[in-house]
Symmetry: C2
Subunit: 155 residues, 2 copies
C-alpha cells in the first residue's frame, strides 16, 4: 500500500489544526523528497500598500519550515514539531502571489538529525525558506529553528 | 479639536488595509504615549497542539512593531512604514489569549529618529515586542527593524 502523499497529509493537518492557514488560503504546490513549495493568493494576505503583509510572508515561511521538519522527522517516528526561533529579512515587496520554498535537509543532515532523535527523543533542525520575487529573485529570506520530538512535550 | 486616538486610527488602518488582522481578530488593548498593547483570541490563532500558532504570534508582534513605528513617525510627517527584518524567539507555548506589548521609543531615540527623517526623508527604528506568558512571564520575544519614510516608496 502506498503511503498518503505529503501534500495531502500536510493539507489535512493544517485544515484541522491551524485556522490561520485557511484564512491565508495556503496551498501546497509541491511536496516531495526534494522540496516543499507553498503558495497563497495576495488578496487575503495584502497590506495597506497593496503588497504582501510581512506577517503573512512570515506565516507562510513558518509553515514551510514546519512542514519540511515534519517530513524529515516522520521516518524516525517524531511527529511533534515546534518552532523555537526565526529570523527573516524582507528585501523587496511581493506584489502578487506569495510563494515559499524550503528544501528538505541534505542526507548528511538528515542522518545526524535521525541519530540525535534516536538517542534523545528530540532533535533540532535549522530550515532556510525563500520567498519568491519577480523573475526568480528572492524577495525575502527566512531561517527557522525547529525542534522535533517523539513525545507530546518538547520541554 | 482633539486628534483621533491612536487606537481608532490603527484599528481603521488595519480594518481597511490588512485582512489578516481581521482573520486573527486583533484588538487594540492600549495605545498611548507609553505603549501599544495588542490582543487576539486563541481560537483563530491556534495550532494543531491547541496553543498559539507561531505565525500568529509573529503576525501580532509585527503589527505591534509597525504600529509603534507609525506612532513615533507620524509627528514628523512620515506615514509609510515597512518591515525590513525580524527576529523572534519562542520560549514557551501560549495556551490562551495572545498579547503583544511594544513600548514607544525613548525620547532620545525619538529625537534621533526625527532628525534622520528630516534630513533623509526616511529613518530606521528597531522595536522589541514581548508576547505575554502566564504570571507576567515572557512567552516569546520579537525584535523588528522598521523603515519609516515621508514618501510612498521606501526603496
Amino acid at each position: 500500500m502506498l503511503a498518503e502523499p505529503w501534500s495531502q497529509r500536510l493539507a489535512a493537518l493544517w485544515a484541522e489544526g491551524i485556522p490561520l492557514a485557511g484564512a491565508m488560503a495556503v496551498e501546497i504546490r509541491r511536496a516531495d523528497e526534494e522540496m516543499l513549495v507553498l503558495a497563497a493568493p495576495l488578496e487575503p494576505n495584502r497590506n495597506h500598500m497593496g503588497s504582501a503583509f510581512g506577517g503573512s510572508l512570515h506565516g507562510l515561511a513558518t509553515l514551510a519550515g514546519w512542514g519540511v521538519t515534519l517530513m524529515a522527522a516522520d521516518p524516525f517516528g517524531a511527529r511533534h514539531i515546534i518552532i523555537r526561533a526565526s529570523q527573516m529579512r524582507f528585501r523587496a515587496p511581493v506584489a502578487g502571489e506569495l510563494i515559499a520554498t524550503a528544501a528538505l535537509p541534505t542526507p548528511t543532515a538528515t542522518v545526524a538529525f535521525g541519530i540525535t532523535l534516536a538517542r534523545r527523543n528530540r532533535a533540532r533542525l535549522t530550515i532556510p525558506v525563500s520567498i519568491e520575487g519577480p523573475g526568480g529573485s528572492i524577495a525575502a529570506h527566512f531561517v527557522g529553528e525547529y525542534v522535533a520530538s517523539t513525545t507530546e512535550s518538547c520541554d
